[in-house]
Amino acid sequence: MTNLVTLTRMRMRLAMRNKMFFFFSLIMPMVFFFLYSAVFAKSDPNIVAYLLGPVLGLNVMGSFWGLSAALVMFREQGILRRFHVSPVTEVDMLVSSILANYALTLPTVIVELLLARFLFHVPSLGNLFSVWLLVTIGVVSFGSLGLVIASVTNTMQETQVLNQLLWLPLIFLSGATIPFASLSTVVQKIALFLPATYLVHGLKNAIVEAASPGKLLVVIVSLSLWFVLTLFLSSQLFRWEPEAKIGRKAKLYVAATAIPFFLLGLWEAKNGRVIAEEKATIQRLDAADKGKEKSEQHPKPDSTKPDAPSQDHN
């Protein structure tokens, strides 16, 4: 336990001394936040609330990128080898990197939520406990995916190629960048096999619909199972030595990480719940938007009263 605490502190300290960390973990998420809120949502509080899920989703998903690169760099430079000769275990190394990443991601998420609430006047941040739960499970599970990537790649180049190959479908198909409802039916069905789709969908539901953890049980359980599976795989495939190369067969283990979301995707494709919910949310937003336009064109005499109920609070 002491090893875990001291290693977590070391990882946090090292990250905070790294300029790249500040760029990818603080500046980039903020750029996305303001791009989505001020440009795409035109500062409309309802749309900012709707886009907050995808913004947080991007932030959470980015975890796998940093963790995989850091672990491969540690292995290539012989740093892991130095720790190997001390009483530090594979699990200490892996869990400490996940914990440090979580502790460093959470403040950015909190800042984004506060900015949404007080700068863009989002009327409600939904069910904050559900948001916290999804962010937590999301950061640790995507972080764990990064550790599997580090374990199945032999060089930094291979790691970056695999990261790119995973990152692009995760951000473009999950609804994090392109609204899920605007994707074609075929692409939506493909997206149902991606963990990112459920994370972004869950975050949107937690914020816009104030969904309780009970209503998000499928997302929470599937992401948790995925976390356990990816962490177990990364500990089994962990290599301390730079010269210890992984065989082609072992690389196939990475396919095992797809199992939980492959099964969930099959079930969702048949059931159509996520697609229907995404459609309903968009329709509700459109209706609210039209209502707002109408009320702006024909203002009711009592609508200017400060205590008048607003549709924005739905």
Binding site: T2, N3, T6, L7, M10, R13, L14, R17, N18, F74, Q77, G78, I79, R81, R82, H84, V85, S86, P87, V88, T89, W240, E241, P242
Partner: protein
């Protein structure tokens, strides 16, 4: 007779088609500095890594501080310290932070302050690892190896790649550890290092221990003969030079004729006279006292650095 701290019997390790360690056996007593001397690729690092619990042997047995490295590596790591080859620390980790970090991993540990002072790193306590010179990095590696006050210290090529002055600094530190009666196993391909630092040396080649003993025992076993290295304008046969008065052996290594002589003055006179008769001339001549290099050449027919 006390039980050895390290006992290795018939250890073997294979990487694919390469047999890195082939039936290595030796033992190390408490307070002894034991050297594994051999060229690169001889199997020294593989042997030492098996003893540290970093790799598993394919066959054979090893016991270090009463633990089997293959099955009790967690407990063993609390008893040993190691400075490995080609390791590093994170660039942005400060010297003092590194010592504190590693001290937190052990049940028993020394004060980081004490080690900073002992290894002359006090002024660098707040420096990042990336800001240290090669010698400072190696001193830090040694300080970390001693952080848990280990019973056995493994030093894998502790001075490889360092300049002569830094190398001498590291020798002084190892000599201090020897005075403290620490058990040390070091691997090296530097003759000077093995002769100066080791109580006993095992000469390793192609994964096997080919000779073991104290440096003086090994030199005596090879005849304790002076080595004369000569370069000639025209080639000669080793058989002809071997027949000269005072010369007991002659080998040709990279165009250099290495003569092993029990009586060097007679050998030099005989050599000069012989070369005159052959219309040949000396280009260079070097005389050296017997060293472990001679033992290695005698046993393998090669130089350590070949």
């Amino acid at each position: 007779m006390p039980e050895p701290v390290i006992r290795v019997e018939n250890l073997s390790k294979r990487y694919g088609d390469v047999e890195a360690v082939r039936g290595v056996s030796f033992s190390v007593n408490e307070g002894e500095v034991f050297g594994l001397l051999g060229p690169n690729g001889a199997g020294k690092t593989s042997t030492i890594e098996i003893l540290e619990g970093l790799r598993n042997a394919d066959s054979g047995t090893a016991m270090v501080c009463g633990y089997d490295p293959a099955t009790d590596s967690d407990a063993l790591k609390h008893e040993i310290g190691a400075a490995l080859q080609s390791t590093a620390l994170p660039d942005k980790l400060r010297v003092m932070e590194a010592l504190k970090l590693f001290s937190s991993f052990y049940k028993r540990h020394k004060q980081p302050e004490e080690l900073l002072k002992r290894f002359g790193l006090e002024e660098k306590r707040n420096a990042f690892y990336s800001q240290l010179s090669g010698g400072q990095k190696q001193r830090l590696a040694l300080a970390i190896a001693l952080i848990n006050d280990p019973k056995v210290i493994f030093l894998d090529e502790p001075t490889a790649g360092l300049d002569p002055q830094v190398r001498r600094e590291i020798y002084d530190i190892i000599e201090e550890l020897r005075h403290d009666r620490k058990t040390i196993v070091l691997t090296t391909h530097y003759i000077e290092e093995a002769e100066r630092l080791c109580d006993r040396v095992a000469i390793v080649d192609h994964g096997k221990v080919i000779k073991e003993g104290t440096p003086s025992q090994l030199k005596q076993a090879s005849g304790d003969k002076t080595r004369i290295e000569v370069r000639l304008t025209k080639p000669e046969t080793d058989a002809a030079l071997k027949c000269l008065e005072g010369v007991s052996d002659c080998r040709i290594l990279n165009d250099v004729y290495v003569l092993h002589c029990a009586r060097p003055p007679q050998a030099i006179v005989a050599l000069v006279k012989y070369l005159e008769t052959q219309n040949n001339e000396l280009v260079g001549l070097e005389i050296s006292t017997p060293s472990l290099e001679d033992v290695f050449i005698e046993l393998t027919g090669r130089r350590l650095r070949d």
